[in-house]
């Protein structure tokens, strides 16, 4: 469904990506792994149209999306849960969910306000609270809910459990598993390899702006040397 071909990207004169190849099939859950500074977030930004490409192209369900402005990329059915959550602090929780929602029935099962509140019951009780006043975990749930409300065909999660308490993390992973059960395609960036191996179908490791390894959860779990080489901090 999503296909990156030889994608290169740079911030000014410093190149970050050197030809990333990546493909995600419909209904698949895929991870992007790698240490800090290897280009994971840049890859995501390149997909979303926030960074312009220096080479290669990106297509989504047969249409070329590289070169499009971010909002057109999003309207093709991609939604980002960004690093640092980035909820709209001056809007209420419900406004955050509704403002950018698109009920066009694109996704396998369209997301509604009720469905999101069912997924994150905490948000329902906070509906009228300013998003800026929420805790980090609540903001993270809101950010995921907000992305789901655009009814994406592909949900992209960038460090969705970073900096949260273990209990909240578990809650969010539970929710992600339920999102997955609804047939949602997901591209996820995270550090928690154990959890990702249970959650995802396939993994890609990014090193210095290139994909250096791709494989299944079993292969990743089996290869200790690989994990030591590319993933240990």
């Amino acid at each position: 469904m999503l296909e990156l071909r030889q994608v290169g990207a740079a911030y000014g004169s410093s190149r970050v990506l050197f030809g990333v190849d990546l493909a995600i099939a419909e209904g698949e859950v895929v991870t992007l792994l790698g240490r800090n500074g290897m280009g994971k977030t840049t890859t995501v930004n390149a997909i979303m149209g926030l960074v312009s490409l220096t080479q290669g192209d990106i297509s989504f369900r047969g249409t070329r999306i590289s070169g499009l402005p971010a909002y057109k990329v999003a309207r093709n059915g991609l939604a980002l849960v960004p690093e640092g959550r980035q909820v709209f602090p001056n809007l209420t929780v419900e406004e955050n969910l509704v403002a950018t929602a698109a009920n066009r029935g694109r996704a396998p099962s369209p997301w509604t306000l009720e469905a999101v509140y069912g997924l994150f019951p905490a948000l329902a009780t906070l509906a009228r609270r300013s998003a800026g006043l929420l805790s980090g975990g609540e903001q993270q749930m809101l950010s995921i809910g907000r992305a789901l409300m655009t009814n994406p065909r592909l949900l992209i999660l960038d460090e969705a459990t970073e900096g949260l308490a273990p209990r909240i993390r578990r809650e969010i992973w539970d929710a992600l598993v339920r999102i997955r059960e609804r047939g949602q395609s997901v591209l996820v960036i995270d550090k928690n390899i154990d959890m990702l191996c249970r959650f995802a179908d396939r993994h890609h490791i990014l090193e210095k702006g290139r994909i250096v390894w791709s494989g299944s959860s079993q292969e990743l779990m089996a290869d200790e040397a690989l994990r030591m080489r590319f993933l240990s901090a």
Partner: protein, 658 residues
């Protein structure tokens, strides 16, 4: 008495409502797009002209109302598409320059279409009478309807922003533009619509205010400045703040004008109260603004959750990046310029065109003023939009002293500089508490405050200004009535000041100013008391501009509030930017080019401001680095070393606190 008070209070509310409609559009465009739009006053004017014309043609007041809003909405969309859109990512200085260009174009176009005579806007018959709100106190029905209509529009705006999906997207875009577009919202379209709504609000305000104001080209400019005060008082980007501040400003201004004289008569002699009260009353809201800013630099009700992208540092993109296309002609060009300035009186004598010398003198005086502005605008990156204030102070010092019989330039000129410096010190302590857009608006408001103050100096000609009784005398050394002697005196001063400017730029002081322009926080972290450096730059620059003002009064033999009009401040700014920032030659070439083009265009057509405004807009988009960039030598060679041992006597002031 009480009945009259109620009437004045209502008048204040009515002014407040008009100001709110103006400020709402400004605060939206500022809060969401981070854009300073000085052309907003022209939309007010267009609303009045187009609405009134439509009402006169159709005979329906309501039709005119609708037309005013629709027409300005459409004009707003077109302006946004053609010009404004390209300014979002630009520095505030560029935004100011470009929208001032728009003001010139729109006002002049209006003058061309509708003629210079004021347009009479009748009060509709069904609102012509008066209403007795309180028995015995009739109040004009139209003014009451204005209040009602204004509040209704404010209510609609509240619902639009607070309750609709569009409003949510507007607020979301204000807090995080990138995230909003990542979620599939065409933020560019939102911007356009918001700008259109702001334009329509200004149009409505202009239309409903038309019957009680005079409808003439440029009518919106004064309202704009009041609206800027509202914006600063209320907190930029906050619609609620704009509402509260608009009513506050409207009521205080109206009540002040009505009652200040009586209040002051309680403590002062009637004569003194009569002299001081009108001046003070017209300055009241600016004083209010200064006080509020001193205690709450963010305004009364700062917008919640705004996380604006930092605008690019002022003037950072103006430095010539490489050698200019005329770089090889740099030395000949400078030689030509110096030769022309030196020989001008002789040439004028041969050609028998004595007014050339007067023209040259004017260029030199404005070059000095531009040079002084460049110290803060170009070198420090502080966009001061009120620099002409000191031109006026210098002129008034000379005028008032000459009127009092003190004719010696040895007294007048230093006093002009000293007073300018003193005033700059006082105003800058307040203004420098802010930065960016706030600084632009505060300097503008301060200049406007002094403009109104000077306009109320009835002993010195009030609005009309006064003829200078006698030119400054210099004990027989220089005779200013001999135009050549005056010319060469001014030229000598310009050369000395340009030299000092270059010297200062290479001293540690100038290097620190440059550092502040590029990254103030870093300079602060490095231990430099940046506030003091900026303050010193402002004071120095004001003193030099005061000198230019003293010379201007002598050259024109006239002193008037016009010298500190905001368009005059804009002119100085244009000279500096057109010539090129942070180089003394820029200021000189800029003054020459500005006055030259003004002379040429105004000889060509009475509508020269139209072409001038267009040139200004082109300058912002095409003229990177100004005229002096054409001659820039390029980055080749070593940068000039910093002269460290200089200005030792001034050191203690800049010593970092432990």
């Amino acid at each position: 008495m009480q009945l009259l008070f109620v009437e004045q209070l209502l008048n204040g509310v009515q002014l407040g409502v008009i100001l709110f409609l103006m400020a709402a559009g400004l605060t939206l465009t500022f809060g969401i797009m981070n854009l300073v739009n000085l052309a907003h006053g022209s939309l007010f004017m267009l609303g009045a002209y187009l609405g009134v014309t439509f009402a006169l043609v159709t005979g329906s007041f309501v039709a005119g109302f609708v037309a005013a809003g629709l027409a300005t909405f459409v004009i707003g969309l077109v302006l946004e598409r053609l010009v404004i859109r390209h300014l979002y990512a630009r520095s505030h200085l560029d935004q100011v320059m470009c929208t001032v260009g728009l003001v010139y174009v729109l006002n002049e176009a209006t003058r061309m279409v509708f003629g210079p005579e004021p347009l009479h806007a009748p009060i509709p018959a069904f609102l012509a009478g008066s209403v007795e709100l309180i028995p015995g106190a009739p109040y004009p029905a139209y003014r009451l309807a204005m209040i009602g209509a204004g509040l209704a529009i404010a209510g609609l705006l509240y619902v639009l922003i607070g309750r609709t999906r569009m409003g949510m997207l507007i607020r979301a875009g204000a807090s995080n533009r990138v995230m909003t577009s990542v979620l599939g919202v065409n933020i560019g379209a939102i911007y356009a619509v918001v700008f259109g709504i702001g334009a329509a609000l200004a149009g409505f305000a202009g239309y409903i205010a038309a019957p009680i104001l005079t409808v003439y080209p440029g009518m919106g400019d004064n309202v704009l400045i009041l609206a800027l005060v509202v914006l600063v008082v209320g907190g930029m980007g906050s619609v609620k703040g704009a509402f509260v501040a608009a009513l506050l400003v409207g009521v205080i201004d109206t009540i002040g004008r009505a009652y200040l004289k009586d209040l002051m008569a309680l403590v002062l002699s009637p004569v003194a109260a009569n002299t001081v009260a009108p001046a003070l009353a017209s300055m009241l809201i600016y004083i209010l603004m200064a006080v509020i800013l001193f205690f709450r630099p963010q305004g009364l009700i700062p917008a919640a959750g705004l996380r604006r992208p930092e605008a690019p540092p002022e003037a950072s993109d103006h430095g010539p990046s490489g050698p200019g296309v005329l770089a090889r002609w740099r030395v000949p060009a400078i030689g030509l310029l110096c030769g022309a300035f030196l020989l001008l009186p002789l040439v004028a004598g041969f050609a028998d065109q004595p007014f050339w010398v007067d023209m040259g003198l004017r260029v030199i005086i404005f070059a000095i003023a531009a040079l002084s502005l460049d110290l803060i605008l170009g070198q420090t990156g502080l966009v001061s939009f009120g620099h002409a204030l000191y031109l006026g102070i210098g002129a008034y010092v000379v005028g008032i002293l000459a009127d009092a019989g003190v004719e010696s330039g040895f007294v007048q000129w230093p006093l002009a500089m000293g007073l300018s410096a003193l005033l700059a010190a006082a105003l800058s302590v307040v203004a420098l508490r802010t930065s960016g857009t706030f600084f632009i608006m505060i300097t503008l408001a301060f200049a406007q405050m002094m403009f109104y103050g000077a306009s109320s100096l009835y002993d010195y000609g009030g609005d009309d200004g006064m003829h200078l009784a006698v030119r400054s005398t210099f004990g027989g050394l220089v005779d200013l009535y001999d135009s050549r002697q005056f010319y060469y005196l001014a030229l000598a001063l310009l050369v000395v000041l340009a030299g000092l400017n270059m010297r200062l730029a290479r001293a540690r002081f100038g290097t620190v100013l440059k550092g502040i322009r590029i990254n103030e926080r870093r300079m602060e972290a490095a231990g430099f008391p940046t506030f003091r450096y900026k303050l010193a730059a402002c004071v120095l620059s004001a003193a030099v501009c005061g000198l230019a003002g003293a010379m201007l009064a002598n050259a024109a033999e006239f002193v008037g509030p016009q010298y500190m009009d905001w368009t005059r401040s804009a002119e100085l700014m244009i000279m500096v930017v057109a010539g090129g920032l942070a180089t003394p030659f820029g200021a000189i070439i800029g003054a020459l080019a500005y006055l030259g083009i003004e002379k040429y265009l105004s000889d060509l057509t009475i509508h020269w401001r139209l072409g001038f405004g267009a040139l200004l807009i082109l300058l912002v988009f095409l003229g990177r680095g100004g005229l002096s960039a054409l001659f820039a030598p390029g980055p080749a060679g070593q940068p000039a070393p910093v002269l460290k041992g200089s200005f030792r006597w001034a050191r203690p002031f800049f010593r970092p606190r432990a």
